[in-house]
Symmetry: C2
Subunit: 121 residues, 2 copies
């Protein structure tokens, strides 16, 4: 499936809310998602999949139970499946996520920060 | 699997040759690859998988049989499985690739530009 050319900066300009992943494009049964992050998310894990974070702008902290992983621009980190984590950012962060279709942002935790994957407006 | 934090700029600084994909990190059974591109590649397709290109720097042209797709910085394009394509760049381009483990750069074409996936030095 092709979405033809998608531009990350254009995608970011269309996103207004934090913690709402939007689909940039897809490859096979994986989605590439764009998200704006600010504040603290919820502790959660994804029992069935790894999750890739790529920071575009800002500083993203991914809290693990035993340490904090600090990511700056162009840093990439993969949270292994089943590992509890909590993303947080004191200032606005722009990031890409790579993960299998159907991966829910709050994983097995659920709750009010659960967000469906949105198409770009 | 986690490779801990990988930085795209650091990875690029370690790559000296064109058309040699290096593994940045992996998620499930997919690899994220970094590559430097200059000149013309070979026409090829990947019968079993889509292939995602993300341009970091420069202008990458992905020739399809019926048109040229022109990609600039932060542009993302997915070549659908089975679609013949030829990447080319008049000036140096830095790009990320996202595709299933085992995907060969020259696909079903083979030939002297075939390159194994390398680990970063």
């Amino acid at each position: 499936m092709s979405d033809d050319v998608r531009n990350i900066d254009d995608a970011l300009s269309r996103i207004t809310a934090y913690w709402q992943p939007h689909r940039l494009t897809s490859i096979n049964d994986y989605d590439v998602k764009v998200v704006k992050i600010h504040g603290e998310f919820v502790w959660h894990d994804h029992p069935d999949t790894d999750e890739l974070f790529m920071v575009l702008n800002g500083e993203l902290i991914i809290q693990l139970r035993d340490r904090d992983v600090v990511l700056g621009p162009n840093d990439v980190f993969v949270v292994p499946r089943g590992v509890e984590h909590r993303p947080k950012a004191d200032e606005e962060v722009h990031a890409l996520l790579f993960e299998p279709k159907g991966t829910v942002n709050t994983g097995s935790a659920g709750g009010e920060m659960t967000s469906p994957l949105r198409e770009l407006p």
